[in-house]
């Protein structure tokens, strides 16, 4: 079966010469929730941009849903949903218009767009803010709208860059449930996060990105459960796993 994501020796260098990703290889299966952990500047957002076809790899090969990110950009974009880290809402439009135009740009028919948008406005509790210009929204509400955009096109592969950053605990729980519901439909999620708890609770596998490459990769249980020096099982907090990996790789 074709993996949802196949990355082979990916290297990504910015025009200013910065090498953001180096020799990164990774496979993600269909229906898997994969979490990418890393400190600021580790390369998480660069990785997300490559998967979203916004950046071309400098070397190596990346296939999303069996399609090449360099060659098949349009088809990939048709089948993925992306929630970037920075707010990219259309400041000239209100909330509802932002969502409607997002659907329409992605080829969703007019009537269907309206139905989906009303459903998501209801689900996210944004009905009373539907006609509010996005510039007037709080940071958390803007992220809710961004989240709705990622789900609205009903993608096969969801790419979320720090989806719960800046959200209150209630909303964070909502995002987690949305991701888990999404996975139940055998669709794939790739998310980057700063939150260890999020990675542990949501992800089937976790990768720790450090210095542009994967410094650790495995199931959260594999990374957190080790055998102690005395041979007895030892549980290590995800946070400590992260600190150890980032510390040892540095």
């Amino acid at each position: 079966m074709t993996p949802a994501l196949a990355v082979e020796h990916l290297q990504c260098r910015y025009p200013n010469g910065t090498l953001a990703l180096r020799d990164l290889s990774l496979d993600i299966g269909v229906g898997e929730v994969f979490g990418l952990l890393g400190v600021n500047g580790a390369g998480k957002t660069t990785m997300i941009k490559v998967l979203g076809t916004l950046l071309r790899p400098s070397a190596g090969r990346v296939r999303v849903l069996g399609l090449d990110v360099g060659r098949d950009r349009v088809e990939i974009k048709r089948r993925i949903g992306v929630m970037p880290q920075d707010i990219n809402l259309d400041t000239y439009l209100d909330v509802r218009q932002n969502l409607i135009f997002h659907c329409r740009f992605h080829g969703v028919a007019k009537r269907e767009s309206a139905l989906r948008v009303e459903r998501w406005l209801e689900v996210l509790g944004l009905r009373d803010k539907a006609q509010e210009p996005v510039l007037r929204l709080s940071g958390g509400t803007k992220r809710k709208v961004m989240l709705a955009k990622a789900f609205l096109t009903e993608p096969e592969f969801l790419i979320l860059d720090e989806p719960t950053a800046g959200l209150d605990p209630e909303m964070r729980a909502f995002v987690w449930n949305s991701v888990l519901d999404f996975r139940r439909t055998r669709r794939t999620v790739f998310l980057s996060t700063h939150y260890m708890e999020e990675a542990e609770r949501l992800c089937d596998r976790v990768g720790i990105l450090h210095g542009g490459t994967l410094a650790a990769l495995g199931r959260p249980s594999e990374l957190t459960h080790k055998v102690g020096e005395d041979g007895r099982p030892l549980y290590i907090e995800m946070h400590d796993v992260f600190s150890n990996v980032v510390g040892s790789a540095a």
């Binding site: 950046l55 992306v82 080829g107």
Partner: protein, 252 residues
């Protein structure tokens, strides 16, 4: 193609949200220009072969045909940069060429609509009308296309559009005042007449002058249209190259 029209609809929706600003830009500003320079000043100045208002009215249309695409295409690139909207558009399942085409056609639409509004204002305030509509629309369309492509080149050639913004403002002034908008080309002597030939507003103004009153001194209309179309044909691949170069890898 559907994407192109949806993008145009988005631009219209955004303008409808700020209808007061759009009305000032599209109606009030040109109306004030026409009243002051066309009606008041134009009534005082004698001009060879016609009235001064017949010289300035086509020039005001030329300025509008320039600013329409500048505001639409340039404005959307700038807001796309400052508010990251460009990232959202780049994530839409279309090619870079289609995205650029959508922006350019929006610029063309706004150039033609704003030119038409000013044409109506000229008729209302100054009582002037072109002898046929074909030439004004041909000039308006080629001018609007030219300025749409030019906006892309100016703003996207530098690494970030904020760097191109200064050049944008710098170009607006000579295009407005030295492009034979407030006087006809025949009034200029060298070296200013040579310099005016470098500015596309010169050709649009002169072509429109011929359409409004052929008795006024003006450039040859065929030369004007061919010149503008050639400029568009040369600028299109350059704009396409700049657009691809900037967005093939999105680093804003």
């Amino acid at each position: 193609m559907k994407f192109v029209f949806i993008m145009l609809l988005r631009d219209l929706t955004a303008d409808a949200k700020a209808i007061n600003l759009a009305a000032v830009r599209l109606v009030l500003q040109p109306a004030v220009y026409l009243f002051v320079f066309g009606y008041v000043v134009g009534g005082m100045l004698p001009t060879e072969g016609g009235r001064y208002s017949e010289i300035i009215a086509p020039g005001i249309i030329a300025i509008t045909v320039m600013t329409g695409p500048f505001v639409t295409v340039g404005g959307s690139i700038l807001s796309g940069y400052y508010f990251r909207t460009m990232e959202a558009w780049l994530l839409a399942p279309v090619t870079l060429r289609t995205l650029m085409l959508a922006k350019v056609l929006s610029g063309l639409f706004y150039g033609l609509v704003s030119g038409t509004i000013v044409g109506l204002l000229i008729w209302l305030i100054l009582g002037l009308a072109p002898q046929s509509l074909l030439m004004p629309y041909l000039l308006g369309a080629s001018g609007a296309l030219f300025f749409s492509f030019l906006s892309i080149v100016i703003l996207l050639f530098p690494e970030t559009p904020d760097k191109g913004q200064e050049l944008f403002s710098f170009l607006l002034m000579p295009m407005t005042f030295f492009g034979c908008t407030f006087y006809s080309y025949s009034m200029l002597a060298p070296p200013f007449s040579y310099l005016a030939l470098l500015l596309p507003t010169t050709y649009i103004s002169e072509g429109l002058r011929a359409a409004y009153n052929p008795a006024l001194p003006h450039m040859d209309s065929t030369f004007v249209v061919l010149g503008l179309l050639l400029a568009v044909a040369l600028l299109y691949p350059l704009a396409g190259w700049v657009f691809r170069r900037r967005f093939r890898d999105f680093t804003w």
